[in-house]
Structures are given as C-alpha cells and as structure tokens.
Symmetry: C2
Subunit: 718 residues, 2 copies
Amino acid sequence: MHRLPPRRLAPSLAAVLLAACALAWPASADEGMWPFNGLPAEALAEQHDVRLTPEWLERLQQSSVRFNSGGSGSFVSAEGLVLTNHHVGADSLQKLSDATHDYFRNGFTAATRADELKCPDLELNVLMSIEDVTARVEAAVTPVMSAADAFAARRAVMATIEQESLAASGLRSDVVTLYQGGAYHLYRSKKYTDVRLVFAPEQQIAFFGGDADNFEFPRFNLDVCFFRAYESGMPARVPHHLPWAPRPVAAGDLVFVSGHPGHTDRAATLAELVSMRDVRIPADLQQLNRLESLLAAYAAEGPEEQRQAADDLFGVRNGRKSRLGMQAGLLDPAVIARRRAAEERTRGDIDAGLAGKQSPYDRIAAAQRELDSIAGRLRLLEGATAFNSRFFAHARTILRSAAERTRPNGERLREYRDSNRESLELELFSAEPLYDTYETAKLADSLTHLAAALGGDDPLVQQVLAGRSPRERAAELVRGTTLGHRGEAGPGEAARPDSRRELYAGGDAAVAASQDPMLALARLVDEESRRLRKIAEAAQEVKRQAHAEITRARFAREGAAMYPDATFTLRLAWGTVKAYEEADRTIEPITTFAGLFARAAAKRDTPPFDLPPRWQAERRALEQDAAFMATPFNFASTADIIGGNSGSPVVNRAGELVGVIFDGNIQSLVLGIAYDDTQARAVSVDAAGIRAAVARVYRANELLAELGLARAEEQSLK
Amino acid sequence: MHRLPPRRLAPSLAAVLLAACALAWPASADEGMWPFNGLPAEALAEQHDVRLTPEWLERLQQSSVRFNSGGSGSFVSAEGLVLTNHHVGADSLQKLSDATHDYFRNGFTAATRADELKCPDLELNVLMSIEDVTARVEAAVTPVMSAADAFAARRAVMATIEQESLAASGLRSDVVTLYQGGAYHLYRSKKYTDVRLVFAPEQQIAFFGGDADNFEFPRFNLDVCFFRAYESGMPARVPHHLPWAPRPVAAGDLVFVSGHPGHTDRAATLAELVSMRDVRIPADLQQLNRLESLLAAYAAEGPEEQRQAADDLFGVRNGRKSRLGMQAGLLDPAVIARRRAAEERTRGDIDAGLAGKQSPYDRIAAAQRELDSIAGRLRLLEGATAFNSRFFAHARTILRSAAERTRPNGERLREYRDSNRESLELELFSAEPLYDTYETAKLADSLTHLAAALGGDDPLVQQVLAGRSPRERAAELVRGTTLGHRGEAGPGEAARPDSRRELYAGGDAAVAASQDPMLALARLVDEESRRLRKIAEAAQEVKRQAHAEITRARFAREGAAMYPDATFTLRLAWGTVKAYEEADRTIEPITTFAGLFARAAAKRDTPPFDLPPRWQAERRALEQDAAFMATPFNFASTADIIGGNSGSPVVNRAGELVGVIFDGNIQSLVLGIAYDDTQARAVSVDAAGIRAAVARVYRANELLAELGLARAEEQSLK
C-alpha cells in the first residue's frame, strides 16, 4: 500500500532522516511528478496530444486534498465530500473506534449527516497558490557563513515568509524546499480541521488478500473511504469537485493522477544511495521487524488487543514490504551501475568548472558520512524510537513548545514556528483514546531496544531506566502520566485526568513545576536529542548547498524539463492503462468482480482471502448478475507515483474521476530511486467498481445521490 | 515452549556462540539440574525425606530419552513406545508432511504398527553410563601451550577417547565439558535411528492459546506426541520404561523431572552476562524478528505455504518469546546487582591467591571482548545465518566432510570426528522434502541480510552475490543445486536429481569436480568462516581454562554440592506442585478440561483459542461428564528446568509417570541465569489428562492398551 510512514516516525525524524534529496532527473516516457506550476506542456502535447486548459488544471488542483496523516484524496461533491483510501482513512477509523465499535474492521455508514463522526485530529489541505521565494531565501544565506549559521539563517527567513503569508492570506503557508535546495516555493493551502467520517467498507474487502497481495497485481480491493470537510459546523461548500466519469477506463487510455507523493530519492548521489542501502533501510527494517513481532504478539492476546493494534500492525507490515522492495532495488547491481554511470557523466561536467573548489559530490559524501555516524542515536532520541508511546510524543511537544515559545519565531525548531501552531495543537489535543496496556507494551519494547542498542551500562540508559527494568519503568511511566486521553475507563470507572491543555497553556512555569513522569523523561533526553539534531541539521545544510550547485548546473544544461523529487506537495502525473509481462505471462491491466470471487474461491475463502459477511450474503445474487461481474474493479497504469499518492484521484482527459490510486505493484517499489514503465504499475480502484459496490452491496443511496450516481444506478438496476 | 533453538542454528554456531559457561552455583531449595552420577543424596533426604535407590535411578535413567532434534522424552512401554511433546516431535511431523498430508497441523494416529511412519532423520539417545575422564583430558594440555594449541590438544584427546569408547562399547560416546572446563565426563548412549511416528494430536490442542499463551500459566495444552524406537526393523525391546501413575498429582506433591536441559548460564561471569545482554541476545532477536516477518509473510501466501513454514514459524516465535524473557531478566537491575555482589565475594577469595597472575575474571572478560568483536561475522558465516537454506547446510557438510576426512581423527573440526559420523550422515541424508520457493525465500532474505550487515560494497558480499541481486542469486543457487530431496514434484513431473550420497562418497575428488553452485558458495566462504571459528575456539579455550580455575577454587570451598550448568545431557531435577502469587492473585497449580472449555468460550473460540473439529464434535458430551471435566490437564511445579527439558518425563516418588514437561511460565525465563522458586514454574501436561484425552477424544484403544491403561479406561467409562 502506498502510504507515508506511520506518524510514530515523528515529523522531526522524517525531516531529519529522510533527507529530501530532491533534484531533477531527465524525464522519459510518462516519467515525472510535476508541480502544478511547472508542467511540461510541450512534452504532454507531443506524447499524448493533449493540452490542459487553465480551467481544467484549476478544477483538478482545487479538488485535490492532502491528508496530513499521510495520503491524498479529492472532493467529489459540492458539499465537501472527500474520497480517499480506506488505508488512508485508517488512522482516523482506528482513533474513532473503541472496545465496542470497530469501524476500522467492520466499516461504517452514516445514515444521515448528523451521524457523521468527527475525526479526533485529521487535517486536510487544499492547495490554493504557489509562489517562488527562492531569491528571498537564498539572499539570507551568505557564502562565508558556517553550515550551522546558514541553516539558522535559512530557517529564520522561511519562518518569516510563512508567518507573513499566514497573516496576509489566512491560509496555511509552507515554504517548500524543492530540488533539495535548488528552489524554494511558498505553498498556500486552505485547511480543514473539522473532518467527519461518512462511509467506510470493511477492512476485509478494502484489503482483500492482505499482506500476501499487498504490492501485487492483479488486485481486487475496495480500498476506499469517504469523509466530509466541515466549516463552522456546516458541510463545506467547495468551489470545485470532480464529477464521476460516465464510462470506465479501457486499456490504452491516458489517465492523470493528482496527489501528494511523499518522498523520492531520484536525485540522490551515489553516496546517498549507498547510505540508504547500507544504513537507513537496514535500520528501518530492524525497527519494523521488531515492531511487527511485538504488535503481532500483542494482537494475539485477544480481540480487543487485536483491535487496538490493528492499524499500527497494518502500517508496520506495509512499511516493511515497501522497504524490502527498495532494498531489493538498491541491491540490484544493474540499478547501481546505471546510477554510477549517470553520476560520472554529470560529475565530469560539474567538477570541470570547479577551479579547485571541493566537488559538491564529495561534500555530500562527507556530510552523509557524518549523518551516518550519528544516525543510530539520532533515530533513538530525536526520532524517539526509544520512547514509542503517544504519551511521550505529547510530553515532548508540551516541553519543547514551552521552551520554543520564549524564542523569536525564526529561531525556533521548525515545527514550533507560529504558522504551524494550529496544526501542532490539533495533533497535541487529539481525542484519540490511548490504552495503558498497549502504550506500556510499546514503551517497554522501545526502552528495551534503547538498552540493547546503547548497552545496558550506558549512562543515558541508566538515567532513563532509573533503576528499573524496562518493563517496570514503562509501566510506571504510563501509570503516572496524565498527558493523554485514556480510552479504557469502563462503566462506573473514574475517568483518568488529562492535563495536556493545562500544561500547554501554562508554558514554561507550568512545565517546570509539573511532576509528570513522562514530561520528566522528555526533559531528561532533550539536551542530547537537540544536540544530535543540530549536528544533523548542519550536515543537511552542507548537502543542501551542494545539491543546489548540482541542480543549477543541470538546469543550465537540461532546461526546464526537470521535476523536483517528491516532497509531499501536490504533483501531477500521467500514464496509460497498460498490460505488462511477468515471467512469460501477460498481466492484463483491468480486473473485475468476477476475478474477486474467483480468487476468494481459489483460496478457499480463508483469511486474508475471505469476504465480509455483507458480501457473502449477496454473493449468489451478484454472481448471477453478468453486468455486475464484468464491472471493472481495479486497474493498473504507468503513472509515476509513490507512497503518499494513496487516495489520489485518477481522472480522464475530460477531468472526470475514473479511479483512486491505492497501491503499486512489486516492481514499482524502486520508483523511489528511478522511474521505469516496463513492469512498474500504479494500481487504482476503478470508479465504476466503487459505484457498483456502494449501490449493490452497501445500498448507500444517500451517498450515491450526492455523487450524482443515483439515477444511473437505478437505470442499471432495472 | 521449552525447546532448543531450531537446528538452523547449526551445532557449530550453538557451540561457538552459546559459550557454555557452566559452573557451580550454590543450591537452595529445589534448585539444581543434577547429573545422575552426582546427585546430592543428603540434601534430598533432608529436604524431602526421600532416598532414591539404585534401581529407581536406573529405571528412570534408562527410560529417559534424548531427542537429538532438541528435546526430551521417555519410554512408556516395553516395546519402545516413546512419549514426548508435540512441539518436540514437530520437527519430524513437519518433515513427514507434504502438500496432501499435514500431520503437524492435523495430527496422526497409526491404526496398526505397519502404519507407523518412519522419521527422515530423527535420532534418539538413551544414556547408559558416565565415566570421569577429566585427568586424561587435562593431561593433554600443558601450561606453556598457546590457547590455540591447547584447544587443538584438548580436541584431539577428546576425539581419541570417544573413538576408543565407540570401538569398545558400540555405544555413542561423547566427552562432555562440565563446569565449563572444570570436569570432563564420557557419556555413553544407546542410539536409535529408526524412529517412527505413532500418535500426534492436532496442533490446535497441542498449542491451544498459541503465541499468546506460550510461556504463560494457567495452561490447557495437550502438548504430547508418541513415537516408537525400532531396532533391525522391529519395535525395540527396551529393558526399562515408566509405568503410568494410577493417581494424578495433587498440590504439595514432590515430583522428579528427568531430561536434557540444553543450556544455562548460571556460572557466567558478569562480563559474560553483560555480553549476553548487550551483544548476543540483541543479535538473536534481530535475527528472529527478521525471520518472523519473513516466514509470516510467506505463510500468508496460501495454505501450502503456511504448511511449509509452520514449524519454522513456531520455532521462531518460541525463540523470540524466550529471549525476550531472558533479556528482561538481564535488564533487571536487581538481577545484575545480585550477580555483581556474588562475583565480588568469590573473586576476592580467588584473586587473593593469584600471586601476581592475571585474574581469571579478567582473562574471561578479555576473551569475551574478542568474541564480541567477531560475533557479527562469525554468526553470518560460521553460523550460516547469511545462507539460510537446508541446501547450503548440506553443501557445507559435504564440502567439509571431504576435507576433514583427509586429516587424522583428532585434528578435525569436532563435528567430523569418526565417532560422530553416523549421526552426521543421518542428518545429511535426511529424506526431508525441500521446496524451491521456500528455500529461495529464506536464502534471498539471508543474502539480503548479509549485504545489509557487511555493506553492499564489501568484497565478500560482492563475491557471494556474483553480480546478481540477492533474490536473483538465491533463485539461481536453489534452481541449480542438487544437494537435497525436492518435495514439490507433482504427478507426471520428473523427480529432481539428488547427488548428496554420490558427492559425499566421492570425497575430495568428487567435490572438487562438482559444478554444484551451492557447493561453490560453501567453498567460497569456507576459508573466512574457518578463520573466524579458529579465533573463537582459541578465545573459548582461554575462557575454559579460566573457568576451570574458578571452579576448582569453588569446589574446594563449597564441596560437592554443586551442579554443572546445563549441557543437553541427562539431569535430574525435582520440585513441588505449587501455587504462586501474581499481581495479588493466587495462581492454582493444576488446571482441568473444564478450564480448557471455559477459556475457549471466553475467547469466543477465535484462533488461537479454537478447538480442533474432533474436540468440537465431542464438546457437548464431554461437558456433561463431570469426571472428565474435573480431570487434571496441566500442572505447575517448582522443578528446575530450561529449554531442552521439553518432553521430559515427570515422575512421583514411586517413579511412576505423572506428567510431561512442556513449558515454563514467563517468570521462569530467567532460570537460565539463576534459579528462583517464588514465581518461576515448570509446566507439565498431566498424565491423567493425556490418558483421558486419548481415550475419550481420540479413542486410540491400541495405544491405551500398550500403556496399560485400557482396563482402567474401560472401568471409568462404565
């Protein structure tokens, strides 16, 4: 499944570790994740005989929705109805559930608007405008500055630009680093923080085939979910939305994908790729394997434990499989050889003009070595993989927020800048229910991991454990903290206190006076954690400047037909609905409901190939309906996508919705490094399949009516 | 579950990594795993008012059976019937199964003796005599020798003693290092290599509660399995066997456990414990977590894949949970503090008499540091975790066997000594079916791990991968090798060649001429692998000599009331059937079938708390039978056990069988480091429960008759 890493990798970790090495890469065929302000109109016209009008682009852009939990979506009605993937909505489905309601597993249908369920901390963004601020950002940095000073100056000017923009426009404002330092663009977005759940199918059908079929094709998944954006307590009246296409796609059709690819490394240098292969991905996999064992064991304790861990477990398995795919690509000697040859060519040109200055490639390699040398501790402390609990995340936010607010806006850790305050508070004050047993299990495991990684006698480990075993210490911390909303208070049981708002509002004095043990833990590791982050930020700055040099040289040579590496900002991609060859077989690009039932039968309906009760009940009737059985369910295309594109709308030349991206095949997992269309395919739920399932299985007539599909459906039922 | 690590940790790895740091530890209460030739008769008499007669001991000793696949068992009829655990028999159940018969999952009952199924490579041992050969072994080593020379001299004299003993007695002969070098005893055992499966229940009831209930109590598991030893094609007539006790145990009863605890570290020094905590166990867990993810994903592909990976997956989860328990113990500051205090006392005495010589504690610490420094590469290469395939294991055995046979017996790698040849060949020529897809998946994962651990540019990695990606290379190796028995040839498909016997018999010339790619891989890494092993063996020798010094000092002070650390040799333990306190609750020591049905109902019969169809079918009838429902099913006692004890017979004062060890509770997982009887409990299947289940659910009347239980059962059924 294409989804960004779960949020337990805190933004700071993602920012620091997933060094966005974005740079241009020569486009070929349907390659490219293009910003809406930099589309290669000529190439599109030439290759696909299509000219996109400003109106067409504006509608698609303003119908596209970013899920800040890590995914994409689109408006599909004038009243703020949003379509995305089940596995993108899963974070909210999980947080909305409790011991008696499991929406993640069993699905949900709001009978009326009053029944729509408000998500605890979901933020949606819609991109309104892009402005190039490169000159202003670059002007703040002078060549004589140290890397640390240059980083600070850059951070300051970005925070100022964002705050000015927010004040002037009222829109969320983010300065985005493109081409890993080659350009800086200010993205302004409309923000929705009152988002409600409208409809979700059962996880069984959303994720039919489970981990086994994940990242495979052919697929048969109803991986969709509907939310609604609200404003001032009313359904948002949105100026643009995507109409449902009257006809499904056919093989050979051109399709467009508008979404938010999270991160790619296509412009990474060889030194960065080798570090990814030998340092980052192995460490990611160790962590994911450990979490998978832990969560699977926790889930095996019983149905309620399974429910609590369900979305995390899905996320961990998904992350594991995607990284295994990338690792396999990086360990393919042909992949590395191609990159080496390409780098040698470019480097020859660039280094020739250096006049004795150190090559930017060597500066990147040196900075990468420095990053690698602190990567383990940085991940543990600043990445907080040693303190795997939402309680700890809240404690750190409260601690740092109190400290950072005493500083000028431009000098703060980036996530505490004024323009980000509302988003930060949405997450900090989430009503997500936390469970002591679950938080304790995760925290005990991660404290154990800390001790194993640094050694049991390490002074920091000893301070963290405070004379207890990791299990005892975790239990003590979770028992003692009041920094979260407890989910487990039974009937008649007293609700546990929650002091997040009080401490946050109280600032430095309140935080200093607090006896909360989780806050004390966050305080204990903060100095070392900040120290490591500072080193990493300076090394990143060295890389940023070097990458900017490389980018400028390549811009000069290759012109504008370059797209930046993915940055979780809105991009347009396109491709063709197309078969491919695998092991001497042709894999046809479109599956049907007939294929779904056939696969379930072939696997004897055993999990993860079983159908939900609702589908079982209708099975005989559906199987006798030839038109239903032939309806397209999922399809594959050559569009250039990556994690974060999950939930992206797929439209035809007319700009009508034909599908929703939800996955890529196994061959697509190396797209993070380089595009390829021989076998790599993006996988979508077909809009026609969604309509048929909602009508025939779920009979959600209100939803169909809002989508403008009720009449068509009635006709087809006659 | 108490079981030795799966055999994929080759004996060499086990020998090298699991440094047997066996030494005495002052016994208290029911502590101790006592060799049959060194029982503390006085303590037993004093504490439990019992004097064991030579006849009592001889019967128990010669009824006790060692499963060389990693477990214990006992003769329970005069015709060679052996009782053990389902999870000990699982290795054979898995190897006997194929795509159409899944005995591991569904169980097995031989209708007649002709239907008993011969196991592909199972060897059973029965201990016949023990002889102290310490003086002869020590005489071969002189103080002026280097560690490497001392190791070689010791290995040579041990091989000679073993070969002489084998020639003279015809019995399997092993010189066992006790007290980690404090003593050497020659163990002579009768060996059975024709072993057949008689009866196994379904895995669901053998492992009811699955990973969730593993290492927990109360328990409800029918974790048993019956085999039969054969000689010359006929059921073995064995001189001793254990009679079934007429009455079950009650709380407060004294019980004896006779079995083969695999490994403990009670005499490890603090430096060794710290290394275990910070180096070995974290590495074990990383490996187990990785394998768990891999195997679970493979098993999710479908029922046949699930079947192929079932026993490995069980083993990995079991190993993970047991190591987590040990790690938790080692990270408990109280545990370490107690050990530090004890060591300081002993060390003070010993170091006082050194007269300027380096303290044995410091020599151990230095040797341990050296071992730690090579542990990663040693595990990958000599431990072969980089080449996780049975095909590779066979390739290495053939390669090394050809080379080693050209050397004198005493100079060979220990596992190739003449006296071990028959056991080695049994394993090498196993008829276990191997599956290309499964072997490829495991090998690709482990080659990937090799590249991640050493870095993709490491010269050895490059040589191993030979210009391919790990996946391609694994597929090529598995496709090309002929060193195993293929399990997947379908009807009409040509059987794949198997050249193991030919190459083994052909020796050096045949091996040199072979083009088998797996053999070539084994050859490629052999030099480096042997080099690392040599370093490790020398460091182990340093530790052995230092431990011997410590042991002698402690023997002198504490007298004979010391037992050696566990070495997978026969030991006697005892304890009391006894409740314990946990979280302010009293956990009663005996469970019943009523408890089984209640727990299944409480968990809504969802896996792993579901009952097999046979039990479901009988459920109503059984629930109405008050006597059946009240029958003891599992019980807990204070006996001192550890992994390898699985399947051990538990007898009463009269020497009658009252149960079979199959697990320990979570508090018992630290028994590897130190005994404790406040909460730690050994868990057994009750003999009365076995009888009732076999009679009422499986109606295996032949089996009951052979156990001498038919009449009693008939009576109780009237």
